[in-house]
Symmetry: D2
Subunit: 340 residues, 4 copies
C-alpha cells in the first residue's frame, strides 16, 4: 500500500526502508533535498520536492506520516492540509503531546481529514529490530493502516509468549497496539517514556553507588562541616562495572534492553569519558508528571528521575545558592571550595 513519509531523520528514513522491504510504496519528503535524493535510491521509494508534490504523487485516500520534531508538527500540518481531501489521513509518528492530538483531530474533523497519533519506540535500533507502536485514532482508520503498522513493527520475534496471552489477543504481540481514541497513542508513549526515565535513573543511581564503593580508600580531613566516614573498611571495593552489568544480563531480575545498552557503553569505555553528564529531557517525562498530578496518582520516582536531569544541567543553581546563603546566615558556614 502507499504511504507518504515526511521527515527523513534517523527514524523516518529507517521506517521507509522497512516499509519498502515489505513491498509498500513510499513517497518521501524532507527539508533536505539530499536526504530525499538519498532515500529515493531505494527500490519502491519516490522523492517529493514539496508538500504539494508529495500529495500529488499519492492516490486518495492518502496516508501521510509525519516523523518530525513535535515543535513543528502544527506548522507541517498547515502546509499539507490545503492539498488534502476528505478521507485522507495524517499520521503523527513523533513525540507530540497527546493534548495536541486531541485538538488537531477535532480541528481536522470538519474537513473529513482523519488524524492518527502513533507513539514510536525503538530509537536508532528500529531498522533492525522494528518499532514498537502505540496508536490512537478512529477504529476504521487504524484498521485501514494495519499493513503499514505490521511492516514497521518488530513482530513477535523470539520473545516468549506471555502465559495467559489468550486473554489478551490482538496485535500487541506483533509490537503494535491500537490504544484508544485520538491521543491514546501518544498518552501511552508519554507514560512509556516516563517509565524509561525512572528505569534509567535506577540503573544510573545504582551503578553510581558501585562506582563510589572505594571511597574508604581516600583519606578525609576532619572538620566541623563534614562528618567523617565512620567505617572506611566497608568501602574498599573497586568494582569492574562493565563485568557487573554484563553478569546482570543473564538470569537476573534486572535484565533489560536498557541494561544491554548500558553494558555495551561501559564495555566500550568504563569511564564514559566522552560524556559530560548534561542530560536532556524531551517532553514526555514532564507531561507524565503533569498527568500524574491531574489524576492524583503519586509518581515520586518518575518525577525525581526527571528532576535529576534538570539538576544535571545546572538548573538547581539558584536554589543551591539559597541553601548556602541560609547556612551562612544562621551558622556562619562558608562554602567549601570545589575539589578536583
Amino acid at each position: 500500500m502507499q504511504l507518504g513519509m515526511v521527515g527523513l531523520g534517523r527514524m523516518g528514513a529507517n521506517m521507509v526502508r522497512r516499509l519498502a522491504a515489505h513491498g509498500h510504496e513510499c513517497v518521501v519528503y524532507d527539508r533536505s533535498a539530499d536526504a530525499v535524493a538519498e532515500l529515493a535510491k531505494v527500490k519502491g521509494v519516490t522523492g517529493a520536492s514539496s508538500a504539494e508534490d508529495l500529495v500529488s504523487k499519492l492516490t486518495p485516500p492518502r496516508p501521510i506520516w509525519l516523523m518530525i520534531p513535535a515543535g513543528v508538527v502544527d506548522h507541517s500540518l498547515a502546509e499539507f492540509v490545503p492539498h488534502l481531501k476528505s478521507n485522507d489521513i495524517l499520521i503523527d509518528g513523533g513525540n507530540s503531546y497527546y493534548i495536541d492530538d486531541i485538538r488537531r483531530s477535532k480541528d481536522l474533523s470538519p474537513k473529513g481529514i482523519h488524524y492518527v497519533d502513533v507513539g514510536t519506540s525503538g530509537g536508532v535500533w528500529g531498522l533492525e529490530r522494528g518499532y514498537c507502536m502505540m496508536i490512537g485514532g478512529e477504529n476504521e482508520v487504524v484498521q485501514h493502516l494495519d499493513p503499514i503498522f505490521q511492516a514497521i513493527a518488530p513482530g513477535p520475534g523470539d520473545v516468549p509468549r506471555t502465559p495467559g496471552f489468550d486473554n489478551i489477543g490482538g496485535t500487541a504481540e506483533q509490537g503494535y497496539l491500537h490504544c484508544g481514541a485520538n491521543g491514546a497513542g501518544h498518552f501511552v508513549k508519554m507514560v512509556h517514556n516516563g517509565i524509561e526515565y525512572g528505569m534509567m535513573a535506577a540503573y544510573a543511581e545504582g551503578l553510581g553507588v558501585l562506582k563510589g564503593a572505594n571511597i574508604g580508600k581516600h583519606t578525609e580531613e576532619i572538620d566541623a562541616e563534614t562528618t567523617p566516614l565512620r567505617d572506611p573498611e566497608h568501602y574498599q571495593y573497586d568494582f569492574n562495572l562493565p563485568a557487573v552489568t554484563e553478569v546482570w544480563r543473564r538470569g537476573s531480575v534486572i535484565a533489560s534492553w536498557l541494561l544491554d545498552l548500558t553494558a555495551s557503553a561501559l564495555a566500550e569505555d568504563p569511564q564514559l569519558s566522552k560524556f559530560s553528564g548534561r542530560v536532556s529531557d524531551s517532553g514526555e517525562g514532564r507531561w507524565t508528571v503533569k498527568a500524574g498530578i491531574d489524576e492524583g496518582v503519586p509518581i515520586p520516582v518518575l518525577t525525581t528521575a526527571l528532576y535529576e536531569r534538570f539538576s544535571s544541567r545546572g538548573l538547581a543553581g539558584f536554589s543551591d545558592k539559597l541553601l548556602s546563603a541560609m547556612r551562612y546566615e544562621f551558622g556562619g558556614h562558608l562554602e567549601k571550595p570545589a575539589t578536583k
Copy 2:
C-alpha cells in the same frame, strides 16, 4: 564435585537439582526432614540429619552452601564451625548484609576456614533459567568452586553478546562473576536489588498513571478543599493494561524481564484483585540507601522507591496525622472522609 547444601527452600532445592543434573554430588540438610527426604530421591543427592551428619558425609576440603534467611546465618555458622577443619569453605548464598560477610570472614580466618559470599538472583525461575551470581571472596577459593558456579549459572544462552565484550572477558557472560574480596558479592547483589526496587517502582507508577487516565469520566464536586480537574476531556481513556504491557515487550526501550512478569500478571488478572498492595522490603533496598549516603552519592529514585513500600504498609500514618493536624490548626480544615 561435592557440595553440601543447607536450606532446601525454593531456591536451595532448585540449585541442588541443577547441580545434580550437571553430575555434582550433593549432601543436603534442612530443618524439615520431609524436605530432605524429598530431595534425597534425586539421583546424586544424599540426605543429612544434622550439621554434623552433613559434614561427616563430605570429603575435605568441604564446600558447604547456606541458602537460608539472612537473619539465621550466624546461628547456622555456629552450628557448623565446630565440625569443620582448615580449608573447608562456607558459602552464604542468601541475602546477607555485606558488612556481616566482612566480619564473618575475619572471624573464620584464624581457623583456616574460608568464607564466600554469593548474591543470587533468579527467584522462582532459577531452576529453568539458572541463577545470576555475584561472588565475593579469596581468588583461589572462588576459583576452586568454579564448577559449582558454572552448573548453577544460566550460561550465555541466547542473550546476544555485548559489542565490545572482548574488553570484558571472564565469566560474566556465563552469568556469574567474582566481584572482589569478601562482601563484594553481597554488595553488588545489594545494589542489584536497590535497582530492582527503582525499576519496579517505575513500572508501577507509570501503569498507575495509565490506570487513572479515565478520571475525567467521574464527576467531582466543587469545594474549597479540592481543586477541580481543569480539563476532564483530557482524561477519558480506558486503557487495556494487559495489552499495553504486552506491546511494550516488543521493540520498546523499556522491555525487560520485569516487564515480562508484569504482563503475565496482568494477563491473568487485569485488576490484580488478589493483591492488597502491602509491599514488603527485605533489607537490600535499605542497605543500598545507607551505602549511597555513606558514599555521598545521591540516589533519590532508589530511596523513594523504598519509601513507597514503607508507605504501602501504612508506616507513614503518624506523619499523615500531623499534616492533618497542622491543616486544622491554621486553616480549620477538616479531613474529608474516605471514599469507596
Copy 3:
C-alpha cells in the same frame, strides 16, 4: 473607603470585620442569607441580597472582593459583570490558578473593568493577626486599593526589621506586596503554598522518626521477607513529642509559626487521635509542580510533599498492587497480612 465583599466564610467575614474596624464601609453578600444578616450587625457593614443589590449599594468606581472557592469564581464573575461599569474593580482574594487571572483580566479589559488577584495567607488566625497579601494587577488600580490592603494586612507588628531592609522598602514590611502584573499575586501565593507543603512534610516526617524511636522495644520475628532491626538498643527512646516541639520553639533554627501550631496540636492530644491522616491538597501544590516543570527548575522536595498527600488518601493503591504482583511473579513472595 467602600468595598463589596462576596463570600462570608471564615476568611471573608473576618476581613470585613478588620475593614470595618478600620472605618471602611462594607457591603456584603453570600449565598447564605443568615451569614449576611449576621455580619450586617457589625457597624459599617450593609447586607445585600444579590449581586445586583450589592452593586447598586456601592458608588462607582466600585471595588468588589470575591472570597469564594476557586472553582466558582468564573460563575460569580458572570453574575457581577452585567451590573458593572468601566473602572469598576473585581478582586479575587481566593486561591485561583494564576493562569485564570491572566485570562480573566484579558476578558474584562475591553469592558474597562479592572481585575486584581490577591493571594491571601493567614488562615483562621487572620482576624487577630491580619492577612499576608500577595497582589497582582495594574499599578494604578492596586495603588487605588491601598487603604483596603493596609487595613487587612498585619502591619509590621513586633517582627524585627530585616537588616538591609532599606534596600527593599515599599509595603512588604506592612504584610502586603504588589508582586507584578495580573496573575503575579496568585503566582506568588501558589509558590508560598508549595513551600508550605514542603515545610509541613519536613516537620511531619521528622516527628514521625521521633515517634518511631522506640521500635527497638518491640520484638520482631525473623523470616526471609523482612530484615530484622540490627541494633534494637539504638531505638529505645519514648520521646515526649509535645515537649520536643515546645523546646524547638525557643532559639532553635527550625522555629516557625507552623511549629507553634504543631506544638499546640500535640499539647492538646499527643496521639492526634481525632485525625485519620487523609490529607487534602487544594491546588496550589499541584500548580507549583507544573510551574517548576515548565521552568525546568527541579523541586523534588515540594513535589514529594505533594505526593505524600496523594498517598495518604490511598491513591497509590494500584501501583502498590503492581509491586506485590511483580514480587509474586519473580519470587513467589506472598503479601504479609496487615498487623494491628
Copy 4:
C-alpha cells in the same frame, strides 16, 4: 556553679560569655592559646593550658563541656578521662552521632564518670538569643546541671505560650529539655537538623520557581531534543525576591526564623553572587535518614533534601554520565553543550 569549657570556637566562646554573665565560674581550654587568652579576659573566666590544667582548676564533681567537632570528641575524651574521678561529668555539646553517645556512656560508666549529650541549636545567634538545648543522660546528673542549662537557654522570651502548655510543663518553655537516656539529646538534635534540611530545601526550591518565572521572556530554539515551553505568556514575571520573602514574614503560614534569615540574605544581595551553591552537609541529615530507614518510617522529603546537597557538590556526576551514555546508545542522542 563551675564549668569547664573545651573548644572556644563560635559557639563555645559565646556559651562561656552567657554563663559568665549569669555569674557562673568557667575554666576554659582550646588548642589555640590565643583563644584561651582572649576569653580569659572576661570576668569569671579562667584560662587553662591543657586538659590536666583545666581539670585541676575545677572542684569535684567537675562538669566539663566539650564544644568541638564530632570527629575529635573521642580523642578529647581520651585526654580528659585519666584526670577525672568518679562523679565527674563529661558533656558533649557538639554534633555527635547519638550512637556514639550510647557507646561512650557505657564505656565511662564503670569509672563512675557521667556522660551527658546536649544537642545545641542557635548558630552564630546564640550569644544574643540563647541556645535551644536537647539533652540526654541520667536524671540526677541532668538535674544537677540545671543552672548551667538555664543560663545558656533562651528562656521563654516573648514567644507566646502554647495553648495547652499546662499539659506539657517542665523546662521546654525555657528552651531546654531533658529528652531521655543517653543519646536522646543528640537523637532529637539529629532529627531537628533533618527537619532543617527539609525546610531549607522547601524555601530554596520555591524561591527557585519564583526566580524562573520570567523564562517565557527568553526565546528558545526548536529541536527534537527539547520540548518548547507551550505557554510563554504564563512566565513573564520578574519577581522581587527580597520583597517577597519580606512580605511572607508577616502573617503568612510560612513565616519562620529561617525565612527571616533568607529575607536578610536577599536584602543584602538579591543575586547571592558571593555563593557558588556548593552545599555542605554535616552528618545529622545522613543519620536522620538511616534512622528513618531502620524504623521503617518513610521520609522522602528529608532524604531528597539531603541528596540535593550531594548533587550541589557534583556528586551525581557518574550517574549523569550513565544517563547520557544510555540515551546515546538507544537514540543516538548527543549531549547539548552547556549554555552560559
